[in-house]
Amino acid sequence: MKKFLSLLLVAGMLASMTACSGGQNSSQQSSSSQQASSQAESSSESAPSKPAEPIKMDALYEVSKNRIPNRPSLVDEKLKEMFNVELNWIDQDTSVYNEKINTLLASDDYPEVFWNLNHPASVKNMGLEGYLVALNPYLDSMPNYKALWSEADFQAMLASCSSSDGNLYFTPTQNYRTASMSWVYYKSEFDKNGWEVPKDVQGLYELLKTIKAANPEAVPMSGRGKWSNAIGGLRVAYGVTNKKSYVDPYTNEFVPYGYVVDGMREAIKWGNTFYAEKLIPADYMTYTDNEWTADIANGRDYIEYQYVERAQYAETNIASFDPNADYDFTSFNISADPSKGYVYERENSWFEYGYSFSDKINDVEGGLEAILGWIDWISTDEGSTFFCMGEEGKTYEKNADGTLQFMPDMYHATRNPEGKHEWEYGLYMGITRQSEDYTREVGKDTNVTISKYFNEDSNAHYTNPVALTFTTEEESRLNTLDTQIDDVADEYINKFIMGTLNPADDNDWNAYLAAMNNAGLEEASKIRTDAYNRGK
């Protein structure tokens, strides 16, 4: 009986091992790269013309918040009109992305086009595994797309967005702003009490104490949960623009891990002081978005380092408590030493999401060329206006001063909060650049404003985010080390802030550094430094 059962199990194992062979993607990739070269050559020689026969392809459309367009949408109509492309849309809820994408790839059931994936790490891996077409040979055939960046920025973008094999597997999107955060504060209360937002950290401390004395119920500097939000503004005040790798804006030196520098220690010390005096939430570690919103809605939150768009969020939520509430944001950042100016967190000139194409698109004649043509067209003024605002008379109208405005029946935060959204027409999702009119209409012009303030202020210091390209082995090793390092940092920094350990005590701080080194900080720092030096 036992022998029979053993034989049965062995037979079953052998059967499963001989079923379905995989691993065809490497051969597909080599053939696809050959086709890519020939396609790239032909596309650079002549502009794409509209084919006589419709080009039919599947396209995966990542959906968040159930924002599925009504189809056929304006985008479908434009694709058909300009490129004779008909896409069969596969709507993929972003909440199930990880599970679904693996099953799609494993079952060979994936589409030719990935319209708008917002998972850069996953896309890079898909490229390395041979599922995606490398776009490097085609970039010159998209002059309008390339023109979204200066040559220096374009090269930096390539370095940052390419996989470890040096190939670019998606088309990054232009970032319309250079900064998005400063100090958002309860302006109407500040004006009423004669308070001003200080320029230095000591002044911030005095201000928070004053607020607490005036309103004992206040959580003067509230924020979303975790230490990174609780002391984020303090960290930037000391020039630590990243918890991990950054270039010091004052010394121009590369810092592999901001977790352990002196500036971070100073920020943590202030965090400890603020925590002890109840100037930040007592349970900041586990603070939920609801609790944070409740602080705002009940007029308890007076100032915090935040996305500047949140000023409007605060005004909306506090409306029933204080109908005349006014929130604003500063045109500067608080600094540890205002005599040296202040630092702001400058963003890359690109977002790491965009279009990707699977190896299957090589089997669709003219398919890749058509979508690349689309990408190039939506990078123009005309294309960007269409893809962000829609069609004149249908979704937007032109004002007397030439600016564009959504039609009255379209959504607007104040004019018509229950209006139709642009995504219902298939618009915006998949842009390569965001038009100015759209930015203004959706209330994102505060980002443009703060970017302008910082760009024009000689006191503002910054360095661009570092682009580190790792080898596959380095990336794998770093993922493991960073998990350990993050855990140790979280543990110790919370202990420092909450007073279990004393950040001013050298013994305690050295214990933290020792724990970080045990977690692999030295090795990880070397990997990051080597990657930085390679890319310089």
Partner: protein, 291 residues
């Protein structure tokens, strides 16, 4: 029955009652809180004013949910999958448990071992997905109801119960000319109502609560059951890092929508459970008693 009037027995009774009251409160308070929030206004929710009673009573969240039709459709899907799946489960489980309960079945021990193996080992997500796809069940209701059609655990419980029925009943039926199927249908099943009700409830609750298989095997979200939609709603309403502009001006609180969806998903089981409770309590012990 002689009642124990000793002091220790009385103390024990008091301790048991106090403990159960504490457990009741600990269980009931979150449910009441969820229901209260679901019926409160967005302002009251955002300001954290709601505890155990609705503040500024409002049906906005429920209106928003039913307006899209997504939850209603998913509710219907859940009922459909639960009814169909449970019917298939019970049909196949009983028809497998009965012959396994007969000691004279050839290779009975071998079949019992085969049943045990899937309880400990599985193919994993990708092989299972490939199997479902190759069988032509991808994006069909059969991908949801067929793969788990027979639960080894429930099968063993049912088999054990059938084994406890007297063999004499079967023998007397055979003397009257009944075949195996007639014995199964007219004698075994009617005597097994407690067990059948229990296992039915186990399967039904399993189907009602399942969300993962639907997420993997359906292409279109219109086929998703309620729990998958609920999960999507909960994730969708998590606040994004940067503000989405319709988060600012949304007249309905995201928390209100989340909690309303929770209430909608809880209600059916809360309605059904009191009627099958007695079977559940009795049936949990069924598989543990042999002979």
């Amino acid at each position: 029955m002689v009642k124990d009037e000793s002091l220790s027995a009385k103390v024990f009774t008091v301790v048991v009652h106090v403990t159960m009251i504490v457990v009741l409160i600990a269980t009931l308070v979150p449910v009441i809180h969820v229901i209260s929030i679901s019926f409160s206004s967005s302002d009251a929710i955002n300001r954290g004013l709601v505890s155990l009673w609705p503040v500024e009573f409002s049906l906005n969240a429920y209106n928003a949910i039913f307006e899209t039709g997504r939850v209603v459709r998913a509710f219907g899907n859940s009922v459909y999958y639960t009814v169909l799946g449970t019917a298939i489960n019970m049909l196949l489980t009983t028809m497998m448990a009965y012959p396994l309960s007969r000691t004279y079945l050839t290779f009975r021990k071998f079949y019992n071992v085969l049943i045990l193996i899937p309880m400990f080992f599985g193919g994993g997500l990708i092989p299972t997905f490939l199997n479902i796809r190759d069988l032509g069940m991808y994006d069909t209701v059969w991908a949801i109801v067929l793969p788990g059609a027979i639960s080894s655990w429930n099968l063993i419980i049912m088999r054990t119960f059938f084994m406890s029925l007297p063999i004499e009943l079967e023998e007397s039926a055979q003397l009257d000319g009944a075949n195996e199927f007639t014995i199964f249908r007219k004698i075994i099943l009617p005597l097994s109502m407690a067990s059948l009700a229990t296992i039915t409830l186990f399967y039904a609750v399993g189907h009602w609560n399942s969300w993962f298989n639907a997420m993997i095997y359906f292409k279109n979200s219109s086929s998703y059951p309620l729990q998958t939609i609920l999960r999507s709603i909960v994730i969708e309403n998590q606040m994004s890092e940067e503000i989405q502009m319709d988060e600012i001006a949304n007249p309905v609180s995201a928390e209100g929508i989340k909690y309303s969806t929770l209430v909608i998903s809880m209600v059916p089981m809360m309605v059904v459970y009191p009627f099958v409770q007695k079977y559940f309590v009795k049936g949990v012990m069924i598989g543990s008693i042999k002979g």
